[in-house]
Amino acid sequence: MKIINCPLNGPRNAQEFVHGGEVVAHPDPHRCSDAEWADFVFMEENRAGVVREWWCHVATAYWFIAERDTVKDEFLRTYDPSELFRDRVEFTRPDPPPDPDPPLDPDPPLDPDPPLDKEA
């Protein structure tokens, strides 16, 4: 079993981690094309060589980024995601087309009768 060097917890057995896929830029969900969105949702690069991936140390729920050589099956570097993600991410909707109706309420006063207390 491999050892992964967690930036928070040090070297631990690979069993303690889960893989979170490649580090990829999320497309703007309101402005990208359907094809771009589908590619983002369904496709993986699966590159042979050095890749940048998300890993999570399960016991401490700590996400970090690993640079890994998939050909040699070697972890080259692991680091905190703040190295790559420094700024607050905002989402905006595109300006709506001119509309005679009053502006949309982004948070409608919904209070339906929701089913509650879920178990499974």
Partner: protein
Amino acid sequence: MPNRMPEPAGLLLDRSETVEFSFEGRTYAGYKGDTVASALLANGVGVLSRSFKYHRPRGPLTMCGQDSNTLVQIGHVPNRLADQTTVAPGMTVRAQNYWGSLENDRLALLGLLHRFMPVGFYYKAFHKPRALWPLWEKVIRRLTGLGTIAPDAPHGYFDKAYLFPDVLVVGGGPAGLAAAIQAADAGGEVLLVDENRALGGALNYARFDADGALADQRKAMLLRELQARPNIQVMSDTLCNGWYADNWLALVRGNRLYKVRARALVLATGSYEQPLIFHNNDLPGVMLGSAVQRLIKLYGVRPGSRAVVATANSDGYGVALDLAQAGVEVACIVDLRADPPADELTAAAARRHLPVLVGATVWEAEPEGRNMGVRAARIARITGEGTCAASADSFACDLIAMSVGYTPAAPLVYQARGRVRYDEESAMFALAELPAHIFAAGSLSGAFNLDAALEEGYRAGWQAAGDAGFGFGPEPACVNPKDAVGRTHPWPIFRHPKGKDFVDFDEDLQVHDLENALTEGYEHIELLKRFTTNGMGPSQGRHASVPAVRLVSKATGAAMDETGNTTSRPPVGQVKIGHLAGRAFEPVRYTAMHFRHLELGAKMMPAGLWLRPEYYGAAPTRSEAIRAEVKSVRENVGLIDVSTLGGLEVRGPDAAEFMNRMYTFAYLKQPVARARYVMMVDIGGVIVDDGIACRWHDDHFYVTATTSGADAVYRTMLWYNAQWRLNVDVTNVTAAYAAVNIAGPQSRAVLEPLCEGVDLSKEAFPYMGVREGHVAGIPALFLRVGFVGELGYEVHVPASYGEALWDALMAAGQSHGMRPFGVEAQRLLRLEKGHIIVSQDTDGLTTPHEADMAWAIAGKKPFYVGMRSVSLQAEGRLTRKLVGFEITDRAAPQPKECHLVIRGDEITGRVTSVAFSEALEKVIGLAYVASDQADEGSTIEIKVDGGERVPAAVVKLPFYDPDGARQEM
């Protein structure tokens, strides 16, 4: 025991104790410490099994568990190694793979048919007509079995253990002992493992000098040094069975599998002695020189009365000296080398006047009646690579010992992706490159000279300790020559016109079989292996691999190094299914009220990692118990432990913004002290979890998640915020809270007298409200929610108060006739209300629109995870829909979950939840159906057990109390 030598021969024997066991129905006596094979040989029994294909008699070849000739059935366990398994009183041993008797195997006639059973025979002969395959399979399986499995065998106890040495040394021969000693001096924790019973390796049986005293001296010195070091843990009888990434190794000892993580690893696994390939080289009585020495030294067994020793190195002379000393007449030492160099051992053989023929080989072994042994060796002069003079001299003998070369015992090196190359000078494969944190010593790395092996051991131990962080003193020097050259003959293969010149004993492969495969174009070593099955038997090519590489190299003209070797993967040796399947680490979680449930007679069931009450009562009363629990909630009051629900705290200035992004609904304007439904979809718009969000404060939400989904939801939240960098903190408080749901018309009446600081009245605490307060003096969160569709309160308290809360509520409920209820009753109650359970009523593709959950989507907010996918789904065509159905015909068989919805000959969906509702007096359920079947009033057909199709009507949800009046009382 006619072949037993007098003491002191027999290092592993305890002659004070005689052990009786049976082989093939006859009783034999051995000594304590004997293996099955050594005890049988001591009694003159040399045939232990029949070969796989031709059913030829076979006897011990290696005497160290590295051939498949000694696989026997012991009691109910098949395929035990007779040369590694010690005899025990009353042991019942049977030979394998014969039909009739071991001595008179009717299938031995197959040997006469070998001309008609060429390599690839099975592929070629039985592939047509296809209809006969099952028949042939039955016949072939009958002919080629390896032992029998006893289905009624008693269960064994197998378990696992974990070790974390600084330095692991594999191999307890001279190099391994030296490595362990040196590494221990540096200060780390050292683990030394050896698959044999006695440490010492070749020091226990091989002859390194003329009078055979050197090995004992060195062994005594090493064992003394070993014992003086308390930081060395020794595990003998332990097979290192595989190398995995980052020095994670599997050790097998008895019924226990050890998983070992070593900082640094020293491999001192030695080498495999290689057979000579000649006509009838598989007869019982033909064995490796090292096997002869093991028999004499370890077990005090005289392996024959008159021996021929075929050799290509001085070790063979050592074997001849040992034989002579054991009272075996040495008919001849046949030296394959034209001009063997003189050394200490050849000189000693000459002093004893042992006859030597040089430049010659054993060309044939003459069989003793029906191939049960050797009668004579026919010896011919070598005229070229693999060729001999036409005339051969016959030497009467009952033993042929082979000492013609070695190959490194490198499976662990291969598994660790070390590089091995062929060295022309020594005619052996040699280690070329070892991965980081792995070091090698001894004959594995070509050090055959005893003092060189020791030096290499000390050095490897020093290197490994340094690598593990225990640097100490100067690097030990290696000055002695390794003496790898002159040990191994470059072409120990003598193809015979009559065949039976076996390359692979496991699979009965002869030289011409490999040549035929090469002629057919299987020139790549991996292809050749697969087509011929060379090296694929139980001995895993330990003897067959290198000759195959030599034959391929010769046929293709490619160098040995280019030809390469086949891949070696774990396991190295035998592993029982029990080792893999045995006791695993499967933790279960108990809620704070667990023992109260047991006291109440609950039948517990797994839910994620948790155990939850399925129902309360004895198994025969299951359905009555569930019915009573349901009735109690609907008509009176019930109490259920819901501690296993996930609980997540979301706090911070961006808490509402974060909730708004993670869940499909709208949370920015959710009022404080109110609950709101949450549904999470993934990036592809598939429902992955749901629950409720309680807002305690503008920047504090408490969110529930499904029992099995809580951990994944928590991880998903953290993953997104690692990217979004919102000012929010998420904590998984699932296990910090214990919780119950008290539900039913009388729930307020039960709860109210216990409460402090919270007004339970309908006006002060409406449906979907959340409050803080105390119950029975315990600080608690109150959530007025209605999963089961009745007036009810979830009460969440710190987990340490869970049992006290349960006791207080049960006591208060007694006068109201309150019953605890389990998961089964809750499932029916929520089904009556039409609420889905994520992962029961949804699958890996269920979208909010399919589940009729579009009402839980706030489509106008700027973003939520999966938003784009959900809006694409809304534009697309709906292929299926989750609907409620009912069956009013009381005589119709009740469908089960996962029964199919069928239209004509097309499957259009399946049932996800179904039950008989006492309250509604009909069968109700949820099912996926085609979108054009989803309208209220359509009829669907459900195929039940036995194939009958039961009509069901699609109805509006919920089934029970459609106005929700009961939960808002």
